[in-house]
């Protein structure tokens, strides 16, 4: 039996099309995926992301232990509530998971990891705590629900639905969070639009979801979440990177912090020994068709492969991420093998869309 989030009954009652996603019974859409996509780009949409796992890390060694665990450096987090995106690497430099870590004090953090990797992540973290002897405690917070409210009107509609949240969240800068009672409000997301990610006790999820719906926030499924993140140039774990891929080959070099030479972290020596061999660029299909993952890409400088591809509702064209030879630049003509036919595409810098505007 797939697992159910605290909002499962709401999705079923709304006649959402449900699919098994990483062992969870999740809504893929509530009707039209494209309409849900446009709601987020133009107004406000909400996603049940309670399948993701929040972990609380506390203890006097929290900061030093995280600095050894993550490829990005939590030492740069100074302000309470500030968030950081990072990869967690294995000793070979492959990506165990990508995650967001929120800093509260040097002794207190919250980490949010992907659903499909949650068990693997927790096992690895516990192994690292044991191996390092760090004085920290790690608690899985399956008692919490998470709702992402995204879009140009997401913040205003959240305040309309939850008036008590406004004072705590009005001054939040991008990529930071605040607590309002038992609600954590983060100005983060996975769509390329402004908005909040709300973390709250599971028993309050339904009331908050319904209040947001009443304020005009459209329920959106994982289908729209995927096309939105693709347009926004954001990687999806398991598709654009995994345990066998270095962040340097997955377009994530910007998340690897090597500034402090005295800092060691798991996977660092492997990254230093194996510099980037591929680069990630966007593709826009110029012929008719739809790009998907694992299609061969032919360039003047050798072959590459798409990692994610779909139809972009905002651009009304097919787009993809492609892992390509280092010498390929944005603005080049390439060909993609789509079911045995070579179709024309153009390389572009990511992202494709940000804050409602096409950038390509």
């Amino acid at each position: 039996m797939p697992k159910q989030t605290p909002l499962h009954a709401n999705h079923v009652a709304a006649a959402a099309r449900m699919v098994d996603f990483a062992g969870w019974d999740m809504p893929v859409n509530y009707g039209s995926q494209i309409e849900e996509h446009h709601a987020v780009r133009r107004d406000a949409g909400m996603f049940d992301v309670s399948h993701m796992l929040a972990l609380d890390l506390d203890g006097p060694d929290a900061t030093s232990w995280l600095r050894g665990l993550l490829a990005n450096d939590v030492a740069k987090l100074k302000q309470a509530g500030k968030a950081l995106y990072s990869c967690m690497l294995n000793p070979d430099g492959g990506v165990i998971d990508d995650l967001i870590v929120y800093f509260f004090t040097p002794n207190s953090y919250r980490i949010v990891v992907n659903a499909g990797t949650a068990d693997k992540d927790v096992a690895w973290m516990r192994q690292r705590i044991a191996a390092t002897g760090a004085n920290v405690t790690l608690n899985s917070r399956r008692d919490l629900a998470m709702i992402a409210v995204q879009g140009p009107n997401a913040r205003a509609k959240t305040w309309q639905a939850l008036p008590g949240s406004r004072a705590a969240s009005e001054a939040l800068t991008v990529f930071s969070a605040a607590n309002a009672g038992d609600l954590m409000i983060a100005r983060t997301g996975y769509t390329g639009e402004d908005g909040f990610e709300l973390t709250l006790p599971a028993e309050r999820a339904e009331a908050v979801w319904n209040a947001l719906a009443t304020a005009g926030v459209k329920p959106c499924g994982l289908g729209a979440r995927d096309t939105l993140r693709l347009e926004a140039g954001m990687n999806l774990y398991g598709q654009d990177m995994d345990d066998s891929i270095s962040p340097l080959d997955a377009g994530l070099a910007w998340t690897v912090d090597l500034k402090d030479e005295t800092r060691d972290f798991v996977g660092k020596s492997a990254l230093l020994a194996n510099p980037a061999a591929r680069k990630v660029l966007g593709l826009i299909l110029e012929d008719k068709g739809v790009l998907r993952s694992h299609m061969a890409v032919f360039t003047a400088n050798g072959e590459g492969e798409t990692t994610s591809g779909s139809f972009s509702p905002s651009l009304e064209k097919s787009i993809a991420f492609a892992r390509l030879p280092l010498d390929v630049e944005a603005g080049e003509q390439v060909e993609v093998d789509i079911r045995g036919r070579r179709l024309r595409a153009r390389t572009v810098k990511l992202p494709f869309v940000r804050n409602g505007k096409a950038l390509v």
Binding site: R17, N29, I34, G289, F311
Partner: protein
């Protein structure tokens, strides 16, 4: 519940077939299929004059989610494909029975006996 008109024939692979007065077959995908596919964004249809075998993958329908083959219900020759549907793939979602995809002239009219009726397809769609 998806809509399964009683006057059409069906395949297990979710195509519908209308037998026209002149014996040609008009083919599309069922309401159940469009619902499962989600928003349709691209169609690749066979050209007129192409000879196709029964169960041959002769067209492609792509939704935002995935690509799916469309199979020839019987052997025959393509006489026309629906350019209006190619230009507006979302018409398949709006009305899967109005947005036909292609027409074929069957090699043997007797092959039609192997197709499902509405009750037979309903059992497939609900399986």
């Amino acid at each position: 519940m998806s809509n399964i008109p009683a006057d059409l024939k069906y395949t297990k692979s979710h195509e519908w077939i209308r037998v026209e007065a002149d014996g040609t077959l008009t083919i599309g995908v069922t309401d159940h299929a469009q619902e499962a596919l989600g928003d349709v964004v691209y169609l690749e249809l066979p050209d007129a004059g192409r000879k196709i075998a029964a169960n041959e993958a002769c067209a492609v329908i792509e939704s935002v989610k995935a690509a799916s083959d469309i199979y020839a219900p019987v052997a025959g020759e393509v006489v026309e494909s629906n350019q209006a549907a190619v230009d507006a793939p979302e018409s398949v979602n709006a009305d899967a029975y109005a947005a036909w995809l292609f027409k074929i002239k069957p090699d043997n009219a007797s092959d039609l006996a192997g197709l499902l009726d509405a009750a037979g397809y309903e059992a497939v769609a609900n399986a």
